[in-house]
Symmetry: D2
Subunit: 182 residues, 4 copies
Amino acid sequence: MYIPVILGTAREGRQSEKAARFMLQKALEAGLESEIIDVRDYRLPATDNSKKSPQAIQLAEKVERMDGLIIVSPEYNHGYPGELKMMLDMLFSEYAHKPVGICGVSSGAWGGVRMTEQLRLVCLAAHMVPTGEAVHFPRIQELFDDQGQLLGKSQHGQARRLLEELIWYARALKAEREPQID
Amino acid sequence: MYIPVILGTAREGRQSEKAARFMLQKALEAGLESEIIDVRDYRLPATDNSKKSPQAIQLAEKVERMDGLIIVSPEYNHGYPGELKMMLDMLFSEYAHKPVGICGVSSGAWGGVRMTEQLRLVCLAAHMVPTGEAVHFPRIQELFDDQGQLLGKSQHGQARRLLEELIWYARALKAEREPQID
Amino acid sequence: MYIPVILGTAREGRQSEKAARFMLQKALEAGLESEIIDVRDYRLPATDNSKKSPQAIQLAEKVERMDGLIIVSPEYNHGYPGELKMMLDMLFSEYAHKPVGICGVSSGAWGGVRMTEQLRLVCLAAHMVPTGEAVHFPRIQELFDDQGQLLGKSQHGQARRLLEELIWYARALKAEREPQID
Amino acid sequence: MYIPVILGTAREGRQSEKAARFMLQKALEAGLESEIIDVRDYRLPATDNSKKSPQAIQLAEKVERMDGLIIVSPEYNHGYPGELKMMLDMLFSEYAHKPVGICGVSSGAWGGVRMTEQLRLVCLAAHMVPTGEAVHFPRIQELFDDQGQLLGKSQHGQARRLLEELIWYARALKAEREPQID
């Protein structure tokens, strides 16, 4: 199954990249085909909503093929980054009936859980299935060592539970989207 | 499949009952087993969170058996009625991995869509699967005739799409929860 | 100035009472007139929306007199307790243009911040002014000693900042609601 | 008083511009100093969070000077446009304790009220004061004639009430921010 990881911020010095790499590693260890889809590679002028740009076409191919997705994103002002929203709004029907696991990142204590709530509503609007499980990375600047190894404890269990639920949904929904013929 | 309709307000003179009866009829016409679960019948003292009351036990039996659910609720102050929230909070794991279609009711123009958003987050917290489709009943006091027949046009199509998506999810998730043995 | 503290849960064994008592003490130390308004004392049958019950009348008198309010509430399923919502929905215009500081309580790590977000929207619907500052009580069961003394560190500073902002707003809005005549 | 109107979408063919011009006209008629601040003029690479770009500096000057603001924005996937969020996230303390009136635009029936809810939480995070009143422009493509004149009825009253509340807050908060000395 192909379940990529969207890295939802493009900011210089972004800390969320470490969390995205951690989730990618966990996805690969779970036997999934995965990769990081970086919002930096899918920037469009906001005036373009034709869905015909090379970036939109390339993204549509990935989203159509995916069996589910993971989004790793920081919280800015209790919401999601604008560049992530612009990328999600480029497509619509390609996302339908696919599960999404949302991982929140914050410099403060709350792990991005308020962003997670707002983003869940956006994903539901696109007819995705948000998992109940989530992974949160509070105080991200202290959470990884210089080699990018996670120092936190709870994220390992959270990631395992998120991936189990995500794969469970991906299998159930794929079987209904694409019934097998004997 | 058993997909009941929760009527989410207990207020005297509640208009949402008409919308709940409309959704019940649509569910029965779609071949579902259904009934109205009325929050009035599941009132608890708020001090009781033992989940051992007769009402909690009876509700748990219904929720465990259901393949999905429909909630019909008005919007009060942009949120959900307190009595609905108290009933939902009585249980937890029984709801997991079951689809829920939320129908909003309002006396004003916006059809309860703000309540729908808050309630979707509550349902996700209980690991339910909210449908992307929804039915909305704006200006409810003008929307039905004296015999309780819907005068509105758009709710028929909305109800059909909601039920299609709900049944699609119910089938997919049931197949994964309870795999058949040949 | 009269700024009471609403205790937003009625559950048996509620931990939020400790947080409400802490906020009451801080309000009194700041020179405010305050008291705890307990949702347990304002329970109504949900069928009653006449606003003519003795409880509704007593609450209306307090709300009309108040210059602002503090709400201390746990998070249940990412939302607010039903009994709190029922109490808030009993009144409307009495709340208008008064500032509200919301304090979140949780047994887990996130301090009730998701409840805070939903409750802010309810307060805005009633035309209240939610403060930007907030106090959060994560892992409430470990946060106070047997005498009810706070063991946490960060809540003292949070409470000071919340009260400063609340009093700032209360003064500004009172001056506009009730202009002085020389 | 200086209360400008932020136009929150940069998309080609944006319909929200008509709603923004309507709100600008209403603000001028109410005796306010106003202008449209167009997100198109404040696009930054998302990698830039230095707040030292010419656009950020120019925006900061306007936000510091403003006594309140109006935001007119469409709803995309139940949320706010990414380009609006990127512009709001460029600044922080300049917004504190200033009132904001949010106007929602939609091509469908619900007038952008779900976007309004998410954006209110973002504004509260920046310590702004969202008004309880709002103006909504549902089915925007049918709501103005070819000369940009509003055909809708309810928006006139909504705009009047929003401006009254916005000016009320602006006066109250300005008096507290900048006390007069006799």
